[in-house]
């Protein structure tokens, strides 16, 4: 129990003052960052911390791969006698090796599929691995990849994987970059319907589970997208932030919105965002086709 004493009381008041000052400092940072227009004074701090945390995240991710495999196995070993346990863990180690081989193989397959995709579209690709992911507590769907400016990655580049469109680069540091996924609630992508080439805007719903859907509102309100239609990227001028012709997803259902009298199609993305691993950044498009439109790039953050 707390015994009252003058020393404690003074220490308590001091702590309250320190906490109060720090809370005010935090509010100030929030205010400065939230009211900043294009260039926030916080941005240099962000890139500085990216230089520190990028390598840490890459290192921890690499270190965790074999540990995760072994940990999965060891849970079954618990409670057995020593002799048995030793054999089991030996077994576990071997199986973990095997599973790492599986992971490597599927990464290799993803990689070759990616290069195929790049060849088909005439994209220059830089491949990267997802090393960190923002948790649901932060309410934004962003990931870190282990490629940065030293690999030619810059802000507003398109990120794809072997399934389709993943997102775009928000910020790039020396050896890592932050990618905004298209399922993030602030993401807006221009899309084109495969069936009749009509255009629309796709917005994320902030849900990266399998239930996550993009809502696509067509620009021409008389257009009726049909379930099963394929949506590809519209592409903006210069390929930033999105290059044209990358598959996004498939129309699942169509609802008409009373509010603005337009059709809203629910699009199921091709990419499985909860299991992102190998991705590629489009660092250049050698053969840009003429489908890039005059329209301004979609407004995103």
């Amino acid at each position: 129990m707390r015994a009252w004493s003058p020393t404690r009381d003074r220490a308590g008041r001091r702590a309250a003052t320190v906490a109060g000052v720090l809370a005010l400092a935090a509010v100030t940072v929030i205010a400065v960052d939230a009211t900043a227009e294009d260039e926030s004074p916080v941005d240099p701090l962000r890139s500085a911390s990216g230089e520190v945390f990028g390598p840490v995240e890459t290192g921890l991710d690499t270190a965790a791969d074999p540990i995760e495999e072994v940990a999965d196995q060891i849970t079954t070993v618990d409670g057995l006698r020593d002799d048995n346990a030793r054999l089991e863990s030996e077994n576990a180690r071997l199986r973990a090796q095997l599973e790492t081989v599986d992971i490597d193989r599927s990464r290799l397959e993803a990689l070759s599929a990616l290069y195929q995709l790049g060849d088909d579209h005439g994209f220059d690709l830089v491949t990267a691995q997802v090393t960190a992911m923002g948790p649901a507590q932060s309410f934004s769907q962003v990931v870190t990849i282990d490629a940065g400016t030293s690999d030619g990655v810059e802000a507003d580049m398109t990120v794809i994987n072997d399934q389709g469109l993943v997102g775009r680069v928000l910020r790039a540091d020396h050896g890592s970059a932050t990618v905004l996924l298209i399922v993030d609630a602030s993401s807006v992508v221009g899309g084109r319907l495969g069936s009749d080439l009509e255009l629309g805007m796709l917005r994320g719903d902030g849900d990266l589970s399998d239930g996550g859907r993009l809502s696509m509102s067509t620009i021409d309100q008389t257009v009726q997208p049909g379930p099963g239609d394929i949506v590809v990227t519209w592409g903006s001028r210069g390929g930033a932030p999105y290059v044209a012709g990358v598959p996004i997803g498939r129309v699942e259902s169509v609802e008409s919105s009373q509010r603005d009298q337009s059709m809203v199609a629910k699009v199921q993305p091709y990419v499985d965002f909860s299991a992102l691993d190998m991705v590629a950044v489009v660092v250049g498009a050698s053969a840009s086709d003429d489908s890039t439109e005059q329209a301004a790039p979609p407004e995103g953050r």
Partner: protein, 174 residues
């Protein structure tokens, strides 16, 4: 504060952030990953009291705000963890003994921290922050942090205690 202790704190904070956005995001439950940094702040609060926990909470929270892949307005985790550090520090006399006290402290800390972060997002009108999502995320976050408490918090507290000189104030006060 001796240099060594500050370095250990810094290493703890960097490691906690690196793990919670990195490898631990593979173990997310409905997208919610465990708040390791919050557990570090709680451990410091229960060992050293409100002042130091508020300072570590502020600096650690700011680092979490700025570390990739964060994309929200900076300062929100800093604000949340200052309050968490201060409040948990006030609880230390009651909560430092026994697992029940630790669990209550972590549950309160996780609830307060996640809520302040979420509410600041609602106030700032950040994309993706909606009341229904907030109500979905907070209980999962609290339960996940509480579930990790018996495993991690005693270790963290033991580490913090090793760092303190033996003649520190609450040893005498206790």
């Amino acid at each position: 504060m001796p240099v060594l202790r500050m370095l250990v704190y810094a290493a703890l904070v960097v490691l906690a952030i690196g793990l919670q956005v990195g490898p631990l995001s593979d173990y997310a439950i409905r997208g919610v990953a465990p708040d390791l940094l919050l557990l570090v702040v709680v451990a410091i609060g229960l060992t050293y009291g409100p002042e130091r926990a508020a300072v570590v909470g502020f600096l650690g929270g700011l680092a979490l705000d700025l570390a990739p892949p964060s994309d929200h307005v900076a300062g929100r985790w800093a604000l949340a963890l200052v309050v968490v550090g201060y409040l948990v520090g006030l609880l230390r006399d009651d909560a430092r003994q026994g697992m029940v006290g630790m669990i209550v402290a972590v549950a309160a800390a996780s609830f307060v921290g996640t809520s302040i972060f979420a509410l600041s997002g609602l106030v700032l009108d950040e994309p993706g922050v909606t009341v229904s999502r907030v109500l979905e995320v907070i209980p999962v976050a609290v339960l996940y942090d509480v579930a990790l408490t018996p495993l991690l918090l005693p270790l963290l507290i033991a580490l913090c205690r090793r760092l303190r000189p033996s003649s520190d104030e609450w040893v005498r006060a206790a």
